[in-house]
Symmetry: C2
Subunit: 502 residues, 2 copies
Amino acid sequence: MARTLRVVLCALSLCANAEGFLSTSSSFAGKPSAVGPAAAAAAGSRAQIAAGNKRRQRVTAADAASVVARGASSSATVSAGGLCMSEGSAKTIVVLGGDGFCGWPTCLHLSDAGHDVIMVDNLSRRRIDLELGCESLTPIQSPQTRVKTWKEVTGREIKYVNIDVAKEYELLLKLFKEHKPDTVIHFAEQRAAPYSQKGSREKRYTVDNNTGGTHNMLVAIVESGLDIHVCHLGTMGVYGYGNSGGEIPEGYIDVTLPGNRQQKILHPAYPGSVYHTTKCLDALLFQFYAKNDGLRLTDLHQGIVWGTNTPQTVRDERLVNRFDYDSDYGTVLNRFLMQAALDIPMTVYGTGGQTRGFIHVTDTAKCLEAAVVNPPAANGPVEIFNQVAETHRVRDLAQMIADKTGTKIDFISNPRNEAAENELEVKNDKFGNLGVDFKSLDGTLLEEVRDIAQKYRGRADLELVYPTSYWNKNRVKAATDGEVNGAPEPTRLFVDVKTGAQ
Amino acid sequence: MARTLRVVLCALSLCANAEGFLSTSSSFAGKPSAVGPAAAAAAGSRAQIAAGNKRRQRVTAADAASVVARGASSSATVSAGGLCMSEGSAKTIVVLGGDGFCGWPTCLHLSDAGHDVIMVDNLSRRRIDLELGCESLTPIQSPQTRVKTWKEVTGREIKYVNIDVAKEYELLLKLFKEHKPDTVIHFAEQRAAPYSQKGSREKRYTVDNNTGGTHNMLVAIVESGLDIHVCHLGTMGVYGYGNSGGEIPEGYIDVTLPGNRQQKILHPAYPGSVYHTTKCLDALLFQFYAKNDGLRLTDLHQGIVWGTNTPQTVRDERLVNRFDYDSDYGTVLNRFLMQAALDIPMTVYGTGGQTRGFIHVTDTAKCLEAAVVNPPAANGPVEIFNQVAETHRVRDLAQMIADKTGTKIDFISNPRNEAAENELEVKNDKFGNLGVDFKSLDGTLLEEVRDIAQKYRGRADLELVYPTSYWNKNRVKAATDGEVNGAPEPTRLFVDVKTGAQ
């Protein structure tokens, strides 16, 4: 059962490609590269995560030993720069949800790095576009064309299989038995919080699809009898934003119970939407299957993803990644950049005081590979990483772009039921210790996204950027009343007993 | 929207009926009423919960005030003895899963107490009997005959509706809209841990049915716009047995986070089977819908239920409650009593060192009514009760019955992946404060169950009491190897940091 693998983190394809990808030449319209007060404020907010970044050491013997110790059946070694593989270290990887915004760049990244990739998708994301009357701003190709193009460009094969993970259990099991993957990456979940709150149908679909799909995958792995490592894309939202009142650790938290008993527990879940809730349900399923069946599981609590293309997707226009700008699926920074590119006001919800974690889509793929090549030991607890590069307040991001471009900001009623303002301090050492070097949000990267938005502006339906999903009936009323800043603090389970602060 | 209700806890029907029901006359064969050393040991184990019982005050002004304070839209008053209603306090109650072992006695109890009951069931429990080749030891009637008989006996009407809660969302919503219930009691979940571990199909069914059904119910309530209070039957198993190292509080726990921050959190979940896991998933869904939509939710973490009949089911043989004795659905004490009645060895798993909470089925119904008439305030956190009367080690229960009856004990390989021995100390003050007086396991009650088992012994298939569901491949191997006491400690997330004890 034990597999002998040797994985080296080095300075090859990943980083080189990343640099190549970043060589955009255009600058922002308006005030190019100006760093205004809002940008400084954003930098301040970003500093919350800096302590973690400082602790990150790229090449130390201790880190290398730590990485080796984690994988019971692999012998990974760490060196400077990035990820590449020595002979014989290629893995067979099934990517569930491989056609999506994070899935597709991850498939390409892993294939580019020499792994054998089987991409599974039922194209539900494309069907939801039809349902919402939306379309990716970038003209994405069919999965068949995508993998055909990738083969033309690189000579490497990605196999595409259409399976509904939540419904077609027998097909999923058959796939595992036939391909005997080392790893299953699980992106096959409905991933938009606003969509998950849209109405009864969408709430139910999100739970049935996400929880049912996750559980089917776990059951199929147990039934297959194979030693398959699962890497799951979770979200920072499982923690509940900022309500623990201190730095958010990576998955587990040390607590003192009554009687002065010291214990380590899974970080309490406090999700803010049906979508986020499904990721918490996943976490409990993972905990059980790790304990009961000894499955190797890695859960990646990711921040909000921005960016579009990666070093792989830019190699041919037919490989372009999707770009969502609508209020359901468009992540906040991408929406702002698209609005800036089209010179329409940026829509900030409520006060914009929400502090969130952010990560570029290229880094998502890098993190996934780092997780894939460093599986936790069997029979150990679920490995949890915070997959986030930096933190910012939403209004600071908007102001930063406004300072560069002159784009106006519209503070509109917050459709979400959430704290109007929150702090967020996140530990993200683990990926740093594995050699992942996060790209920070800066002018060059922002320009790249803005260029994409400008290039395809003719394809945009500007009405779609305004929210149509409301978290509850009070939020509908607030929108009707034109309320902007008065989002009530939702009832808090996390109460500071000493101060009474929520 | 506000309903004016006046509910009085008094000494009427409930307790009088309960006493009538308990007037069994036969005594145990073997050593009648002898209290051996094992019974004393059991009493010692039971003492773990005694502190809570002592704290229980039946009639205090403070309690009454507390009860009134809980229900924002009701004005409940507490007096001694039991539960009954003053004029105008009848509730309309939908009981999901009303045909089951706990569901049916609860329907009758609530109807008997004057509430209007709509019983919903898709008869899945009966279908699973067909699938497993099992049958209730007691000859249960169809739901149609059950409700017809109840009307003949009492003049009271229970409406029966066949809906699959996990699949027929629109019918469920229609039901809510038509009947505008004050309360929905949710029993509609696959409830056997061994069945949930039987194989891929059963694992998947348990998650799809339980999580999908719970979520459908919540979504339908939100969509209906009605102020419906949910009472859900959960399980003590959500806490993970005994691993928190101290008394288990009712749902929430006070912890100290790093930086000496005092907080109250939902008790960490650490379930031991797919079935138990679904109850933890429910808890997270409840937390979200209470926070986001202000739903009133009560979650009852119940111990292992024993007993068969209640003061209502004994009124006509056609009302008899189901009695499961098979290894999948038979709860442990009922299985032992049935084995004693048939003079076959009692099957104790592993060392029998598992300490569990127990409750008689009559008390389940009483607790449900207490919860129903005392809804939590809207927009508050989920109300959580520990619905358990006493705690015992499994081997002590077996020994107690052996001492009375001369029945032998077979210690067999534990099919479950669990700690071989655990302590369990449970807080159960809340129901005491609401006037619920738990029946303790004693000779009289045990005899009643034994009489049922003897009466219907001709219907039993004795092969069915031996386990056929194993938690994982290691447990299958242990059974094959004939291992009895060596059940390994499963990997623990709860580690005492100071002592290293798991």
